[in-house]
Symmetry: C2
Subunit: 448 residues, 2 copies
């Protein structure tokens, strides 16, 4: 009898799990269950459709219906998983027509993702508080702009919040970002780097209000304004970018253990506390490579990697997930901003004693026309002298610098090794002394 693999969720983690399972077991019966109408699309692309860089929301569908046919994957869209029975090894579902089903599994992969979250704020039940998590969310915001919205308030200055702020400003709206914490991108950047990004956004015309928690949604049925830090702000459009929460209810109700981050606890094979049940993506907890503590970075790169590992294991193979570093990058107007490993603040929270080095340089030889500014901050553990984190912002070539430092962290490179490292150079492409090497020199000077 063919192995029955059931996957709840059909985005980055779920579809990559299904593909890996199929490549591991050619005969398995693989079923994907998703509440959404569209499966296998890129959430990360949503702000760039709103901003107009990508023409259509449907362009984001990375895995079209034909993919599931070719890979012989049974996709159940617009179907909700209502219960997992780990004793009987079944998943109960209900589809949009109300039809219920009990689907048996040999291996189950939970890829239920995360949901946009609004704190318990007075008036939060009112209409018109729009998150940006699903394709439909994106279309709703796009429609509001097309119907003539002129002003927007973004609640939350994380990655999604700022990417959406930029997108809406590029569409001509007057945008205000409201953040409870005293800096933007608090999960990604240290305050010094956040300040520079903030000033750039303000120069582009985005208003940013920091240290202002949203206290109330105003309006009768539909929100027409908010109160934040005592101040009233009216707008046509209200984007909820407070953050996301792992969708763990289904797992918790089935007795699957959650970890200290409140996401589903997993081991290196992405197995949960229950045999033959795996969890991957934004709902799953794994281990941070530097701190060796539980972490839930909720990134697409992590989702596809975990999905692949769980898919191989669920299909009878053997694969390990080696942990997360939280490497992430974004583009805000012409500025690229990236991070890997720990920020100085995160290291402090993890009680790691650090030395940092920051350098401003250029992306091409100084004399080469079109050289753009770039800034690197390196975080080093003082005792071991090992590189444990970096933040980089610049006009180009940020992503792969982040990857280079990510590799260095994963292979426990010391800052001294980094300062001596062999790098490539050509006048149109970089400086003779690579900025990340210069940042390492800055750290060494402090260590002397």
């Amino acid at each position: 009898m063919p192995k029955r693999i059931v996957i709840i969720g059909a985005h980055a983690a779920g579809v990559d799990a299904a593909s890996a399972a199929r490549k591991t077991d050619r005969t398995a019966e693989i079923t994907l269950i998703t509440e959404e109408k569209n499966a296998g699309y890129s959430r990360c692309g949503l702000p760039f459709v709103i901003g107009g860089q990508i023409p259509n929301f449907t362009d984001l569908i990375v895995f079209p219906p034909s993919y599931y046919q070719i890979m012989k994957l049974n996709l159940k869209a617009e179907t909700k998983a209502t219960k997992i029975d780990t004793g009987k090894k079944t998943v109960e579902t209900i589809d949009k027509t109300g039809k219920k089903e009990e689907i048996p599994y040999d291996s189950l992969i939970i890829a239920t993702g995360a949901s946009a979250f609004t704190p318990p704020i007075k008036g939060k039940e009112k209409q018109g508080i729009l998150p940006l998590r699903t394709l439909e969310d994106g279309q709703r915001i796009d429609q509001a702009v097309k119907k003539g919205a002129k002003t927007a308030v973004i609640m939350g200055a994380g990655l999604i919040g700022l990417e959406t702020a930029v997108a809406l400003q590029e569409r001509g709206l007057k945008v205000t970002v409201v953040e409870m914490l005293p800096q933007i991108l608090p999960a990604m950047l240290d305050a010094d780097f956040a300040k520079i990004v903030q000033e750039m956004l303000e120069q582009k015309g985005i208003e940013i209000l920091l240290g202002k928690p949203v206290e109330e949604f105003l309006g009768t049925d539909k929100v027409t304004g908010i109160v934040a830090g005592g101040e009233q702000i009216n707008a046509d459009l209200f984007i909820s970018a407070f953050g996301v929460r792992a969708n763990t209810q289904l797992a918790a109700e089935a007795g699957i253990a959650l970890g200290e981050t409140k996401a589903i606890k997993t081991n290196a094979r992405m197995e949960t506390s229950i045999k033959d049940v795996y969890a991957v993506g934004d709902c799953a907890e794994s281990t941070h490579i530097v701190t060796q503590k539980p972490a839930v970075p909720q990134l697409g790169t992590v989702a596809v990697r975990q999905g692949k590992v769980a898919g191989i294991n669920a299909a009878g193979g053997y694969s390990l997930f080696t942990g997360v570093l939280g490497s992430a990058v974004t583009q805000l107007y012409d500025m690229q901003v990236g991070v890997t490993g720990l920020t100085e603040a995160a290291a402090q929270r993890a009680r790691i004693e650090t030395v940092t080095g920051t350098i401003a340089s250029k992306t091409k030889a100084d004399y080469y026309p079109g050289a753009l500014p770039i800034k690197v901050k390196l975080v080093v553990e003082r005792e071991s002298q090992r590189v444990i984190g970096a933040q980089i912002m610049g006009g180009e070539e940020v992503t792969q610098r982040i990857n280079a430092i990510s590799f260095a962290i994963q292979k426990q490179m010391t800052v001294r090794e980094l300062a001596k490292a062999d790098t490539a150079y050509a006048p149109p492409l970089c400086e003779t002394w690579e900025p990340i090497v210069l940042a390492a020199e800055m750290v060494l000077m402090k260590l002397r």
Copy 2:
């Protein structure tokens, strides 16, 4: 009495040595000797002035005269070092007026570089065979174009040859490249990658003749044509890009040992066989990180690093140079081409058994407008499964991918670790699955 440090050569290696020496010893007497009129300019930038991307040759002067004043460096330009006496510890010089001098040293740094080299070809004594090594060489080529040269023959399809070919074609000349070996960029790329670059150059209108050694220079006083592989090619301009040879005569005459590469032998402190004498840059041999064999990559990045190490040591400090990987990159039209570590062919020559993986991908999310093609070839040692080399070509973000793999090689990352590595992603900046990770997957599939 202040320490007397003499440096023969005043470009990348020499000036960086002088700067490092000054930072190490604030009171040392530091003297730089160069035959050239201009010191401290970027040779790597020359083709881009000829191509018109950089306005003036003088823009390439990275260290202006004021730099030597501020750093209290005694620069003797247009002065030739004629003899090193390691017994008396002196350098004999002659300046452009014919004035001779004997300069005593406590530490000597030899940074004599390399010179363009023309093989013993019939007629090589004729006028008009132009190398591109010095600023004056560049000005000479530029003048020839301004005086109406319509056609050019480039002899040699290495980096300088091709960069100059592109530059001249961009200036409107009809360009033919003649190469003795059966592929372009033989020191940098494997034949499969070289072929793709070649086709791109041919599509842009550059004629490339492979496997054709130059056999004769034709013309009376001035060269008007060449014979290559039996074929006669006439042109207005003849660029000698056969390669460079380390300038070792001065060192050899002083009894300083040369290595098996025929460059000056050095240890990890950049010391030569003679006490208190260092050698750095294009004239110095050092150790390849993968093969642990002598290597002379003759790259600017290596020159500045070696210069820094020798400068610190010569001034009484302690610094080690950790070896070379040959990381290099160039831009030819819109194509960026990079290498680090060993090519498949170089590994074969070093008798290392390899497995390779090649992948074609894009530089942004597939759905993001403007995504450019990128191609990665990974070279892995079969037994250890360690990454030992990579070649990458693409429309953008090649340099830092080379650096990332350079770090991986230096920290002995296995291909399995690379396939699992944490990388950063955003739709406008890269794919979810980083191409270098996918190339690692390709290798793993062959290792199974």
